[in-house]
Protein backbone atom coordinates (compact mmCIF):
# COMPACT_ATOMS: atom_id res chain seq x y z
CA UNK A 1 0.00 0.00 0.00
CA UNK A 2 2.77 2.41 0.94
CA UNK A 3 4.49 1.68 -2.40
CA UNK A 4 1.35 2.46 -4.33
CA UNK A 5 0.65 5.58 -2.30
CA UNK A 6 3.11 8.46 -2.08
CA UNK A 7 4.07 9.70 1.40
CA UNK A 8 1.71 12.67 1.05
CA UNK A 9 -1.22 10.49 0.12
CA UNK A 10 -0.43 7.88 2.78
CA UNK A 11 -0.30 10.59 5.44
CA UNK A 12 -3.75 11.80 4.40
CA UNK A 13 -5.19 8.28 4.56
CA UNK A 14 -3.65 7.51 7.97
CA UNK A 15 -4.78 10.86 9.34
CA UNK A 16 -8.33 10.40 8.07
CA UNK A 17 -8.56 6.99 9.69
CA UNK A 18 -7.24 8.33 12.99
CA UNK A 19 -9.49 11.40 12.95
CA UNK A 20 -12.61 9.39 12.09
CA UNK A 21 -11.92 6.65 14.61
CA UNK A 22 -11.44 9.08 17.48
CA UNK A 23 -14.42 11.16 16.37
CA UNK A 24 -16.64 8.07 16.38
CA UNK A 25 -15.38 6.42 19.56
CA UNK A 26 -15.43 9.57 21.67
CA UNK A 27 -18.84 10.76 20.51
CA UNK A 28 -20.50 7.34 20.98
CA UNK A 29 -21.25 7.63 24.75
CA UNK A 30 -22.66 11.12 24.27
CA UNK A 31 -24.57 9.94 21.20
CA UNK A 32 -26.15 7.05 23.12
CA UNK A 33 -27.09 9.27 26.09
CA UNK A 34 -28.56 11.95 23.84
CA UNK A 35 -30.49 9.38 21.82
CA UNK A 36 -31.82 7.78 25.03
CA UNK A 37 -32.91 11.14 26.44
CA UNK A 38 -34.68 12.03 23.18
CA UNK A 39 -36.29 8.59 22.90
CA UNK A 40 -37.45 8.01 26.46
CA UNK A 41 -37.64 11.22 28.44
CA UNK A 42 -39.82 14.26 28.17
CA UNK A 43 -38.29 17.41 29.57
CA UNK A 44 -38.52 21.13 28.89
CA UNK A 45 -36.29 22.09 26.00
CA UNK A 46 -36.41 18.66 24.41
CA UNK A 47 -37.25 20.10 20.99
CA UNK A 48 -34.44 22.61 21.41
CA UNK A 49 -31.96 19.80 22.12
CA UNK A 50 -33.30 17.86 19.17
CA UNK A 51 -32.83 20.92 16.95
CA UNK A 52 -29.34 21.52 18.25
CA UNK A 53 -28.31 17.92 17.56
CA UNK A 54 -29.64 18.12 14.02
CA UNK A 55 -28.32 21.59 13.24
CA UNK A 56 -25.03 20.41 11.64
CA UNK A 57 -27.11 18.35 9.21
CA UNK A 58 -28.85 21.40 7.77
CA UNK A 59 -26.37 24.23 8.31
CA UNK A 60 -23.81 24.89 5.59
CA UNK A 61 -20.66 23.02 6.78
CA UNK A 62 -18.67 26.22 6.42
CA UNK A 63 -20.95 27.86 8.98
CA UNK A 64 -20.52 24.94 11.39
CA UNK A 65 -16.75 25.14 10.92
CA UNK A 66 -16.72 28.86 11.54
CA UNK A 67 -18.88 28.49 14.67
CA UNK A 68 -16.45 25.83 15.90
CA UNK A 69 -13.57 28.21 15.26
CA UNK A 70 -15.32 30.96 17.21
CA UNK A 71 -16.07 28.63 20.12
CA UNK A 72 -13.08 26.31 20.22
CA UNK A 73 -10.40 28.58 18.70
CA UNK A 74 -7.65 29.63 21.10
CA UNK A 75 -9.40 33.01 21.46
CA UNK A 76 -12.84 31.43 21.84
CA UNK A 77 -14.70 31.05 25.17
CA UNK A 78 -14.33 27.27 25.38
CA UNK A 79 -11.11 26.96 23.39
CA UNK A 80 -9.39 29.53 25.62
CA UNK A 81 -10.22 27.60 28.78
CA UNK A 82 -9.20 24.29 27.24
CA UNK A 83 -5.95 25.81 25.93
CA UNK A 84 -5.00 26.66 29.51
CA UNK A 85 -5.59 23.03 30.39
CA UNK A 86 -3.32 22.04 27.51
CA UNK A 87 -6.00 20.88 25.08
CA UNK A 88 -5.79 22.71 21.77
CA UNK A 89 -8.19 22.16 18.88
CA UNK A 90 -7.44 24.98 16.47
CA UNK A 91 -5.30 23.91 13.50
CA UNK A 92 -4.59 20.50 15.09
CA UNK A 93 -5.76 17.02 14.11
CA UNK A 94 -7.80 16.99 17.33
CA UNK A 95 -9.78 19.88 15.86
CA UNK A 96 -10.38 17.85 12.72
CA UNK A 97 -11.70 15.05 14.91
CA UNK A 98 -13.97 17.50 16.75
CA UNK A 99 -15.33 18.89 13.47
CA UNK A 100 -15.90 15.38 12.13
CA UNK A 101 -17.63 14.34 15.35
CA UNK A 102 -19.97 17.34 15.30
CA UNK A 103 -20.86 16.78 11.65
CA UNK A 104 -21.45 13.05 12.12
CA UNK A 105 -23.38 13.42 15.41
CA UNK A 106 -26.88 13.88 13.93
CA UNK A 107 -26.57 10.70 11.85
CA UNK A 108 -25.33 8.73 14.86
CA UNK A 109 -28.07 10.00 17.18
CA UNK A 110 -30.82 9.40 14.60
CA UNK A 111 -29.90 5.76 14.09
CA UNK A 112 -29.49 5.04 17.81
CA UNK A 113 -32.67 6.90 18.77
CA UNK A 114 -34.75 4.87 16.33
CA UNK A 115 -33.37 1.62 17.69
CA UNK A 116 -33.98 2.66 21.32
CA UNK A 117 -37.54 3.67 20.45
CA UNK A 118 -38.00 0.19 18.98
CA UNK A 119 -37.14 -1.48 22.31
CA UNK A 120 -40.42 -2.58 23.93
CA UNK A 121 -40.84 -0.56 27.17
CA UNK A 122 -42.78 -3.51 28.58
CA UNK A 123 -39.53 -5.50 28.63
CA UNK A 124 -37.95 -2.69 30.64
CA UNK A 125 -40.89 -2.90 33.06
CA UNK A 126 -40.38 -6.65 33.36
CA UNK A 127 -36.71 -6.05 34.13
CA UNK A 128 -37.63 -3.56 36.87
CA UNK A 129 -40.10 -5.98 38.50
CA UNK A 130 -37.27 -8.52 38.62
CA UNK A 131 -35.26 -6.14 40.76
CA UNK A 132 -33.13 -4.22 38.26
CA UNK A 133 -32.57 -0.58 39.11
CA UNK A 134 -32.90 1.86 36.16
CA UNK A 135 -29.17 1.79 35.26
CA UNK A 136 -29.22 -2.01 35.14
CA UNK A 137 -32.44 -2.00 33.11
CA UNK A 138 -30.59 0.17 30.60
CA UNK A 139 -27.41 -1.92 30.58
CA UNK A 140 -29.04 -5.37 30.47
CA UNK A 141 -32.15 -4.76 28.36
CA UNK A 142 -32.25 -1.44 26.50
CA UNK A 143 -28.61 -1.30 25.40
CA UNK A 144 -28.25 -4.89 24.13
CA UNK A 145 -31.58 -4.72 22.33
CA UNK A 146 -30.66 -1.41 20.69
CA UNK A 147 -27.24 -2.76 19.67
CA UNK A 148 -28.01 -3.16 15.94
CA UNK A 149 -28.91 0.52 15.71
CA UNK A 150 -25.89 1.54 17.77
CA UNK A 151 -23.54 -0.40 15.49
CA UNK A 152 -25.21 1.02 12.41
CA UNK A 153 -25.07 4.54 13.86
CA UNK A 154 -21.39 4.24 14.73
CA UNK A 155 -20.40 2.96 11.30
CA UNK A 156 -22.50 5.59 9.58
CA UNK A 157 -20.83 8.25 11.72
CA UNK A 158 -17.39 6.83 10.87
CA UNK A 159 -18.14 6.98 7.12
CA UNK A 160 -19.47 10.52 7.45
CA UNK A 161 -16.35 11.54 9.41
CA UNK A 162 -14.11 10.09 6.69
CA UNK A 163 -15.78 12.39 4.16
CA UNK A 164 -16.04 15.58 6.21
CA UNK A 165 -14.59 18.55 4.34
CA UNK A 166 -16.30 21.93 4.73
CA UNK A 167 -16.34 22.29 8.51
CA UNK A 168 -12.88 20.75 8.84
CA UNK A 169 -11.12 23.02 6.37
CA UNK A 170 -12.85 26.09 7.85
CA UNK A 171 -12.04 25.18 11.47
CA UNK A 172 -8.54 23.67 11.23
CA UNK A 173 -7.43 24.61 7.71
CA UNK A 174 -5.55 22.20 5.42
CA UNK A 175 -2.14 21.55 6.97
CA UNK A 176 -0.27 18.55 5.51
CA UNK A 177 0.29 15.86 8.13
CA UNK A 178 -1.83 17.66 10.74
CA UNK A 179 -5.25 18.45 9.36
CA UNK A 180 -5.06 17.38 5.70
CA UNK A 181 -7.55 14.49 5.65
CA UNK A 182 -8.47 12.60 2.48
CA UNK A 183 -11.09 15.13 1.23
CA UNK A 184 -8.79 18.08 1.94
CA UNK A 185 -5.94 16.26 0.20
CA UNK A 186 -8.08 15.53 -2.87
CA UNK A 187 -9.03 19.20 -2.98
CA UNK A 188 -5.37 20.24 -2.64
CA UNK A 189 -4.14 17.80 -5.31
CA UNK A 190 -6.76 19.11 -7.73
CA UNK A 191 -5.44 22.67 -7.21
CA UNK A 192 -2.00 21.86 -8.60
CA UNK A 193 -1.11 20.74 -12.17
CA UNK A 194 -0.38 17.00 -12.37
CA UNK A 195 -2.16 16.20 -9.09
CA UNK A 196 -5.01 14.28 -10.74
CA UNK A 197 -3.25 10.92 -10.34
CA UNK A 198 -2.84 11.28 -6.60
CA UNK A 199 -6.37 12.65 -6.30
CA UNK A 200 -7.75 9.64 -8.18
CA UNK A 201 -6.00 7.18 -5.82
CA UNK A 202 -7.55 8.93 -2.82
CA UNK A 203 -10.94 8.97 -4.55
CA UNK A 204 -10.69 5.19 -4.99
CA UNK A 205 -9.75 4.76 -1.35
CA UNK A 206 -12.68 6.96 -0.32
CA UNK A 207 -15.10 4.90 -2.36
CA UNK A 208 -13.66 1.64 -0.98
CA UNK A 209 -13.84 2.82 2.64
CA UNK A 210 -17.39 4.13 2.26
CA UNK A 211 -18.58 0.98 0.52
CA UNK A 212 -16.78 -1.22 3.04
CA UNK A 213 -18.34 0.67 5.94
CA UNK A 214 -21.82 0.23 4.53
CA UNK A 215 -21.31 -3.50 3.91
CA UNK A 216 -19.83 -4.12 7.35
CA UNK A 217 -22.62 -2.08 8.93
CA UNK A 218 -25.29 -4.16 7.18
CA UNK A 219 -23.60 -7.46 8.01
CA UNK A 220 -22.97 -6.63 11.66
CA UNK A 221 -26.41 -5.12 12.17
CA UNK A 222 -28.22 -8.11 10.70
CA UNK A 223 -26.17 -10.57 12.75
CA UNK A 224 -26.78 -8.61 15.93
CA UNK A 225 -30.46 -8.21 15.07
CA UNK A 226 -30.80 -11.97 14.65
CA UNK A 227 -29.18 -12.54 18.04
CA UNK A 228 -31.24 -9.86 19.79
CA UNK A 229 -34.39 -11.10 18.08
CA UNK A 230 -33.94 -14.38 19.90
CA UNK A 231 -33.43 -16.61 16.87
Amino acid sequence: MQDWLGPEEWKAVALSLRVSLWATVLSLPLGISTAYALARWSFPGKQLLNGLVHLPLVLPPVVTGYLLLLTFGTQGPVGGLLAEAGVVFAFRWTGAALAAAVMAFPLMVRAIRLSIEAVDPRLEEASATLGARPLWVFLTVTLPMALPGIVAGAILAFAKAMGEFGATITFVSNIPGETRTIPSAIYAFLQVPGGEGSAMKLVLISVAVAMGALLISEAVASRVAARVGGR
Binding site: L123, T129, L130, G131, R133, R227, V228, G229, G230, R231
Partner: protein
Protein backbone atom coordinates in the same frame (compact mmCIF):
# COMPACT_ATOMS: atom_id res chain seq x y z
CA UNK B 1 -50.34 -11.66 53.67
CA UNK B 2 -50.69 -9.04 50.96
CA UNK B 3 -52.94 -6.13 51.91
CA UNK B 4 -54.27 -3.81 49.23
CA UNK B 5 -56.39 -0.73 49.62
CA UNK B 6 -56.55 1.81 46.83
CA UNK B 7 -58.58 4.24 44.79
CA UNK B 8 -57.65 5.25 41.30
CA UNK B 9 -59.35 6.89 38.36
CA UNK B 10 -58.50 5.60 34.91
CA UNK B 11 -60.63 7.03 32.12
CA UNK B 12 -64.25 6.22 32.91
CA UNK B 13 -63.32 3.62 35.52
CA UNK B 14 -63.31 4.68 39.15
CA UNK B 15 -61.49 2.04 41.13
CA UNK B 16 -62.11 1.75 44.87
CA UNK B 17 -61.02 -1.57 46.36
CA UNK B 18 -59.73 -3.10 49.56
CA UNK B 19 -58.84 -6.75 50.00
CA UNK B 20 -56.36 -9.15 51.53
CA UNK B 21 -54.48 -11.94 49.81
CA UNK B 22 -53.31 -14.66 52.22
CA UNK B 23 -50.98 -17.51 51.32
CA UNK B 24 -52.24 -19.50 48.34
CA UNK B 25 -53.84 -18.13 45.20
CA UNK B 26 -56.07 -15.09 45.49
CA UNK B 27 -57.91 -14.62 42.23
CA UNK B 28 -59.02 -11.15 41.22
CA UNK B 29 -62.08 -12.19 39.32
CA UNK B 30 -64.22 -10.04 37.07
CA UNK B 31 -64.97 -9.21 33.49
CA UNK B 32 -62.64 -7.19 31.25
CA UNK B 33 -62.49 -3.54 32.23
CA UNK B 34 -63.34 -4.10 35.89
CA UNK B 35 -59.89 -2.79 36.91
CA UNK B 36 -58.05 -6.04 37.61
CA UNK B 37 -54.85 -5.25 35.71
CA UNK B 38 -54.77 -1.72 37.14
CA UNK B 39 -54.76 -3.18 40.65
CA UNK B 40 -51.93 -5.61 39.87
CA UNK B 41 -49.87 -2.86 38.22
CA UNK B 42 -50.34 -0.68 41.30
CA UNK B 43 -49.17 -3.55 43.52
CA UNK B 44 -46.13 -4.05 41.24
CA UNK B 45 -45.32 -0.33 41.36
CA UNK B 46 -45.76 0.15 37.61
CA UNK B 47 -48.64 2.53 38.32
CA UNK B 48 -49.02 5.09 41.08
CA UNK B 49 -52.52 4.88 42.59
CA UNK B 50 -54.52 8.01 43.37
CA UNK B 51 -54.72 7.09 47.03
CA UNK B 52 -54.07 3.90 48.94
CA UNK B 53 -51.83 1.64 50.91
CA UNK B 54 -50.22 -1.61 49.80
CA UNK B 55 -48.25 -3.80 52.17
CA UNK B 56 -46.88 -7.31 52.48
CA UNK B 57 -46.79 -8.23 56.14
CA UNK B 58 -44.79 -5.49 57.86
CA UNK B 59 -43.31 -4.24 54.60
CA UNK B 60 -45.17 -1.20 53.22
CA UNK B 61 -44.79 -0.90 49.44
CA UNK B 62 -46.97 2.11 48.91
CA UNK B 63 -48.72 4.54 51.22
CA UNK B 64 -49.98 7.70 49.59
CA UNK B 65 -50.73 9.26 53.01
CA UNK B 66 -46.99 9.07 53.76
CA UNK B 67 -46.03 9.88 50.15
CA UNK B 68 -44.35 6.50 50.03
CA UNK B 69 -44.09 4.75 46.68
CA UNK B 70 -41.36 2.16 46.33
CA UNK B 71 -40.12 1.80 42.74
CA UNK B 72 -40.80 -1.62 41.15
CA UNK B 73 -37.21 -2.84 41.54
CA UNK B 74 -37.36 -2.43 45.32
CA UNK B 75 -40.64 -4.30 45.82
CA UNK B 76 -39.38 -7.82 45.08
CA UNK B 77 -42.57 -9.10 43.51
CA UNK B 78 -42.46 -11.78 40.82
CA UNK B 79 -44.71 -10.57 38.01
CA UNK B 80 -45.93 -13.09 35.43
CA UNK B 81 -47.21 -11.05 32.51
CA UNK B 82 -49.94 -12.03 30.10
CA UNK B 83 -47.51 -11.99 27.17
CA UNK B 84 -44.60 -13.54 29.06
CA UNK B 85 -42.21 -10.69 28.36
CA UNK B 86 -39.14 -12.90 28.23
CA UNK B 87 -35.96 -11.12 27.21
CA UNK B 88 -35.43 -12.11 23.57
CA UNK B 89 -31.69 -11.44 23.61
CA UNK B 90 -31.06 -13.86 26.49
CA UNK B 91 -31.25 -17.64 26.58
CA UNK B 92 -33.88 -19.38 28.70
CA UNK B 93 -31.24 -20.08 31.36
CA UNK B 94 -30.18 -16.40 31.42
CA UNK B 95 -33.83 -15.33 31.60
CA UNK B 96 -34.33 -17.61 34.61
CA UNK B 97 -31.21 -16.28 36.32
CA UNK B 98 -32.02 -12.64 35.56
CA UNK B 99 -34.00 -12.05 38.74
CA UNK B 100 -31.44 -13.95 40.84
CA UNK B 101 -28.72 -11.45 39.92
CA UNK B 102 -30.68 -8.66 41.55
CA UNK B 103 -32.10 -10.54 44.53
CA UNK B 104 -30.46 -9.73 47.85
CA UNK B 105 -27.80 -12.22 48.93
CA UNK B 106 -29.69 -13.24 52.06
CA UNK B 107 -33.01 -13.74 50.25
CA UNK B 108 -34.47 -17.22 50.63
CA UNK B 109 -34.16 -18.15 46.98
CA UNK B 110 -35.84 -21.04 45.24
CA UNK B 111 -33.47 -23.64 43.97
CA UNK B 112 -32.95 -23.37 40.21
CA UNK B 113 -32.90 -27.13 39.69
CA UNK B 114 -36.12 -27.60 41.64
CA UNK B 115 -37.96 -24.87 39.73
CA UNK B 116 -36.71 -26.20 36.39
CA UNK B 117 -37.95 -29.66 37.36
CA UNK B 118 -41.27 -28.38 38.67
CA UNK B 119 -41.99 -26.50 35.43
CA UNK B 120 -40.57 -29.16 33.12
CA UNK B 121 -38.28 -26.74 31.28
CA UNK B 122 -35.00 -28.64 31.59
CA UNK B 123 -34.78 -29.25 27.84
CA UNK B 124 -35.27 -25.58 26.98
CA UNK B 125 -32.46 -24.00 28.98
CA UNK B 126 -30.05 -23.28 26.14
CA UNK B 127 -32.75 -22.11 23.71
CA UNK B 128 -33.80 -18.54 23.08
CA UNK B 129 -37.35 -17.34 23.72
CA UNK B 130 -37.91 -16.89 19.96
CA UNK B 131 -37.70 -20.66 19.55
CA UNK B 132 -40.30 -21.48 22.24
CA UNK B 133 -44.01 -22.18 21.92
CA UNK B 134 -46.50 -19.96 23.75
CA UNK B 135 -46.97 -22.50 26.53
CA UNK B 136 -43.22 -23.00 26.99
CA UNK B 137 -42.69 -19.23 27.15
CA UNK B 138 -45.28 -18.94 29.92
CA UNK B 139 -43.67 -21.74 31.91
CA UNK B 140 -40.28 -19.99 31.66
CA UNK B 141 -41.96 -16.72 32.70
CA UNK B 142 -43.37 -18.45 35.78
CA UNK B 143 -39.91 -19.80 36.62
CA UNK B 144 -38.26 -16.42 36.09
CA UNK B 145 -40.70 -14.73 38.48
CA UNK B 146 -40.28 -17.49 41.05
CA UNK B 147 -36.47 -17.41 40.98
CA UNK B 148 -36.25 -13.69 41.74
CA UNK B 149 -36.88 -14.57 45.43
CA UNK B 150 -40.17 -12.64 45.48
CA UNK B 151 -42.25 -11.73 48.54
CA UNK B 152 -45.37 -12.40 46.48
CA UNK B 153 -46.19 -13.45 42.94
CA UNK B 154 -48.43 -11.43 40.64
CA UNK B 155 -49.97 -13.04 37.58
CA UNK B 156 -51.99 -11.03 35.07
CA UNK B 157 -54.08 -13.49 33.05
CA UNK B 158 -51.02 -15.62 32.25
CA UNK B 159 -53.14 -18.05 30.21
CA UNK B 160 -55.26 -15.54 28.29
CA UNK B 161 -53.09 -15.53 25.17
CA UNK B 162 -52.96 -19.33 24.93
CA UNK B 163 -55.30 -21.78 23.22
CA UNK B 164 -57.23 -24.40 25.21
CA UNK B 165 -54.61 -27.12 24.74
CA UNK B 166 -51.81 -24.85 26.00
CA UNK B 167 -53.95 -23.73 28.94
CA UNK B 168 -54.48 -27.36 29.90
CA UNK B 169 -50.70 -27.79 29.67
CA UNK B 170 -49.92 -24.90 32.05
CA UNK B 171 -52.70 -25.20 34.64
CA UNK B 172 -51.15 -28.20 36.44
CA UNK B 173 -47.91 -26.21 36.84
CA UNK B 174 -49.83 -23.31 38.35
CA UNK B 175 -51.53 -25.75 40.73
CA UNK B 176 -48.11 -27.04 41.78
CA UNK B 177 -46.93 -23.46 42.21
CA UNK B 178 -49.88 -22.79 44.52
CA UNK B 179 -49.29 -25.95 46.55
CA UNK B 180 -45.49 -25.83 46.77
CA UNK B 181 -44.68 -22.14 47.17
CA UNK B 182 -45.10 -20.46 50.51
CA UNK B 183 -45.99 -16.90 49.43
CA UNK B 184 -49.19 -15.10 48.39
CA UNK B 185 -50.06 -15.32 44.71
CA UNK B 186 -52.32 -12.61 43.29
CA UNK B 187 -53.84 -13.93 40.10
CA UNK B 188 -56.00 -12.00 37.64
CA UNK B 189 -58.54 -13.92 35.63
CA UNK B 190 -61.85 -13.68 33.89
CA UNK B 191 -62.09 -17.41 33.30
CA UNK B 192 -64.50 -19.28 35.56
CA UNK B 193 -62.70 -22.58 35.20
CA UNK B 194 -59.29 -21.04 36.05
CA UNK B 195 -60.82 -19.56 39.18
CA UNK B 196 -62.44 -22.85 40.11
CA UNK B 197 -59.19 -24.75 39.70
CA UNK B 198 -56.69 -22.33 41.20
CA UNK B 199 -58.35 -20.04 43.69
CA UNK B 200 -57.86 -20.42 47.41
CA UNK B 201 -59.43 -17.00 47.91
CA UNK B 202 -61.64 -15.14 45.47
CA UNK B 203 -61.98 -11.37 45.21
CA UNK B 204 -64.87 -10.69 42.85
CA UNK B 205 -64.74 -7.30 41.13
CA UNK B 206 -67.40 -5.43 39.27
CA UNK B 207 -66.93 -1.97 37.75
CA UNK B 208 -64.01 -1.11 40.00
CA UNK B 209 -65.49 -2.38 43.25
CA UNK B 210 -65.11 -5.54 45.31
CA UNK B 211 -68.51 -7.26 45.33
CA UNK B 212 -67.39 -10.29 47.33
CA UNK B 213 -64.27 -11.79 48.84
CA UNK B 214 -63.65 -14.98 50.76
CA UNK B 215 -62.80 -18.64 50.38
CA UNK B 216 -63.27 -19.88 46.83
CA UNK B 217 -66.01 -22.43 47.67
CA UNK B 218 -68.05 -19.80 49.52
CA UNK B 219 -67.80 -17.05 46.92
CA UNK B 220 -68.35 -19.34 43.94
CA UNK B 221 -71.24 -21.07 45.74
CA UNK B 222 -73.07 -17.81 46.45
CA UNK B 223 -75.88 -17.35 43.90
CA UNK B 224 -75.84 -13.58 44.47
CA UNK B 225 -72.29 -13.26 43.16
CA UNK B 226 -71.88 -13.72 39.44
CA UNK B 227 -69.16 -11.31 38.36
CA UNK B 228 -69.19 -12.72 34.83
CA UNK B 229 -72.98 -12.94 34.63
CA UNK B 230 -75.26 -15.86 35.47
CA UNK B 231 -74.13 -17.68 32.33
CA UNK B 232 -70.70 -18.37 33.87
CA UNK B 233 -71.90 -19.27 37.37
CA UNK B 234 -70.80 -22.57 38.85
CA UNK B 235 -69.94 -23.99 42.25
CA UNK B 236 -66.83 -25.95 43.22
CA UNK B 237 -66.86 -29.32 44.98
CA UNK B 238 -63.95 -30.95 46.73
CA UNK B 239 -63.62 -34.63 45.84
CA UNK B 240 -61.18 -37.54 45.98
CA UNK B 241 -60.53 -40.03 43.19
CA UNK B 242 -61.77 -43.43 44.39
CA UNK B 243 -61.41 -45.67 41.37
CA UNK B 244 -61.05 -45.58 37.60
CA UNK B 245 -63.57 -47.93 35.98
CA UNK B 246 -63.18 -49.93 32.78
CA UNK B 247 -66.02 -48.14 31.01
CA UNK B 248 -64.03 -44.88 30.93
CA UNK B 249 -65.57 -43.33 34.02
CA UNK B 250 -63.87 -42.25 37.22
CA UNK B 251 -65.59 -42.62 40.57
CA UNK B 252 -65.01 -39.75 42.98
CA UNK B 253 -65.96 -39.30 46.56
CA UNK B 254 -67.22 -35.86 47.57
CA UNK B 255 -67.70 -35.86 51.33
CA UNK B 256 -69.35 -39.25 51.21
CA UNK B 257 -71.41 -38.70 48.06
CA UNK B 258 -70.37 -40.54 44.90
CA UNK B 259 -69.60 -38.45 41.82
CA UNK B 260 -69.18 -40.02 38.38
CA UNK B 261 -67.04 -38.16 35.85
CA UNK B 262 -65.48 -39.01 32.51
CA UNK B 263 -62.03 -40.51 33.11
CA UNK B 264 -60.05 -38.06 35.26
CA UNK B 265 -56.35 -37.95 34.51
CA UNK B 266 -55.22 -38.33 38.14
CA UNK B 267 -54.12 -41.20 40.32
CA UNK B 268 -56.53 -42.89 42.71
CA UNK B 269 -56.58 -41.23 46.11
CA UNK B 270 -55.73 -37.76 44.78
CA UNK B 271 -57.75 -34.83 46.16
CA UNK B 272 -59.44 -32.78 43.44
CA UNK B 273 -61.72 -29.83 43.01
CA UNK B 274 -64.48 -30.07 40.45
CA UNK B 275 -66.37 -27.14 39.01
CA UNK B 276 -70.02 -27.90 38.25
CA UNK B 277 -71.30 -25.25 35.82
CA UNK B 278 -74.71 -24.01 36.93
CA UNK B 279 -76.21 -24.33 33.46
CA UNK B 280 -75.41 -28.08 33.43
CA UNK B 281 -77.44 -28.80 36.58
CA UNK B 282 -81.07 -29.96 36.55
CA UNK B 283 -83.27 -29.64 39.65
CA UNK B 284 -85.96 -32.23 40.38
CA UNK B 285 -88.62 -32.49 43.07
CA UNK B 286 -88.53 -36.13 44.25
CA UNK B 287 -86.01 -38.70 43.11
CA UNK B 288 -86.03 -39.07 39.31
CA UNK B 289 -86.24 -42.68 38.07
CA UNK B 290 -84.82 -44.36 34.95
CA UNK B 291 -82.62 -41.34 34.11
CA UNK B 292 -79.53 -41.38 31.89
CA UNK B 293 -77.69 -38.87 34.09
CA UNK B 294 -75.38 -40.63 36.54
CA UNK B 295 -75.10 -38.04 39.28
CA UNK B 296 -78.25 -37.52 41.32
CA UNK B 297 -77.73 -35.87 44.70
CA UNK B 298 -80.43 -35.14 47.27
CA UNK B 299 -80.26 -31.69 48.86
CA UNK B 300 -82.03 -28.73 50.39
CA UNK B 301 -82.59 -25.45 48.56
CA UNK B 302 -80.64 -22.78 50.34
CA UNK B 303 -81.46 -19.75 48.17
CA UNK B 304 -83.18 -18.82 44.93
CA UNK B 305 -81.97 -15.73 43.11
CA UNK B 306 -84.11 -14.51 40.26
CA UNK B 307 -82.36 -12.59 37.53
CA UNK B 308 -83.66 -9.75 35.40
CA UNK B 309 -84.27 -12.11 32.47
CA UNK B 310 -86.04 -15.45 32.37
CA UNK B 311 -83.38 -17.17 34.48
CA UNK B 312 -82.88 -17.92 38.14
CA UNK B 313 -79.99 -19.40 40.08
CA UNK B 314 -80.80 -21.96 42.75
CA UNK B 315 -78.29 -22.80 45.45
CA UNK B 316 -78.69 -26.32 46.79
CA UNK B 317 -76.80 -27.74 49.76
CA UNK B 318 -76.01 -31.39 49.14
CA UNK B 319 -73.89 -33.90 51.00
CA UNK B 320 -71.14 -33.23 48.45
CA UNK B 321 -71.29 -29.48 49.07
CA UNK B 322 -72.99 -26.42 47.62
CA UNK B 323 -74.23 -26.82 44.03
CA UNK B 324 -75.61 -23.99 41.88
CA UNK B 325 -78.26 -24.64 39.24
CA UNK B 326 -79.30 -22.18 36.56
CA UNK B 327 -82.90 -22.79 35.64
CA UNK B 328 -85.82 -20.67 34.39
CA UNK B 329 -87.98 -18.62 36.72
CA UNK B 330 -90.97 -20.48 35.32
CA UNK B 331 -89.47 -23.82 36.41
CA UNK B 332 -88.60 -22.43 39.82
CA UNK B 333 -92.22 -21.33 40.27
CA UNK B 334 -93.67 -24.60 38.93
CA UNK B 335 -91.57 -26.63 41.38
CA UNK B 336 -92.29 -24.17 44.18
CA UNK B 337 -88.59 -23.86 44.88
CA UNK B 338 -87.93 -21.87 48.02
CA UNK B 339 -85.36 -22.08 50.79
CA UNK B 340 -85.89 -25.31 52.70
CA UNK B 341 -87.42 -27.25 49.78
CA UNK B 342 -86.17 -30.82 49.38
CA UNK B 343 -84.88 -31.48 45.88
CA UNK B 344 -82.52 -33.65 43.87
CA UNK B 345 -79.86 -32.10 41.67
CA UNK B 346 -78.95 -33.94 38.48
CA UNK B 347 -75.58 -33.58 36.74
CA UNK B 348 -74.67 -35.46 33.58
CA UNK B 349 -71.23 -36.99 33.97
CA UNK B 350 -70.16 -35.96 30.46
CA UNK B 351 -71.05 -32.31 31.08
CA UNK B 352 -68.08 -31.89 33.42
CA UNK B 353 -65.19 -30.82 31.23
CA UNK B 354 -61.65 -32.00 31.88
CA UNK B 355 -60.61 -28.33 32.19
CA UNK B 356 -62.95 -27.94 35.17
CA UNK B 357 -61.21 -30.63 37.20
CA UNK B 358 -58.05 -29.61 39.04
CA UNK B 359 -55.82 -30.49 41.94
CA UNK B 360 -57.12 -29.52 45.36
CA UNK B 361 -55.22 -26.69 47.04
Amino acid sequence: MLEVRLTHTLGALRLDVAFEAPKGVTVLFGRSGSGKTTIVNAVAGLLRPGTGRIAIGERVLCDTAQRLHLPPHRRRLGYIFQEGRLFPHLSVRQNLRYGQWFAPRDARAEDMARVVEMLGIGDLLSRRPGALSGGEKQRVAIGRALLSAPRAILADEPLASLDEARKAEILPYLERLRDEVDIPILYVSHSASEVARLATTVVALDAGRVVAQGRAEEVLGDPAITPLGAREAGAVLAARVVRHHDDGLSELDACGAALWLPRVDRAEGVELRVRIAAHDVIVARGRPERLSALNVLPGIVQAVREGAGPGAIVAVDTKAGRVLARITRRAAAALALAPGAEVHVVVKAVSVAQADVGAAG
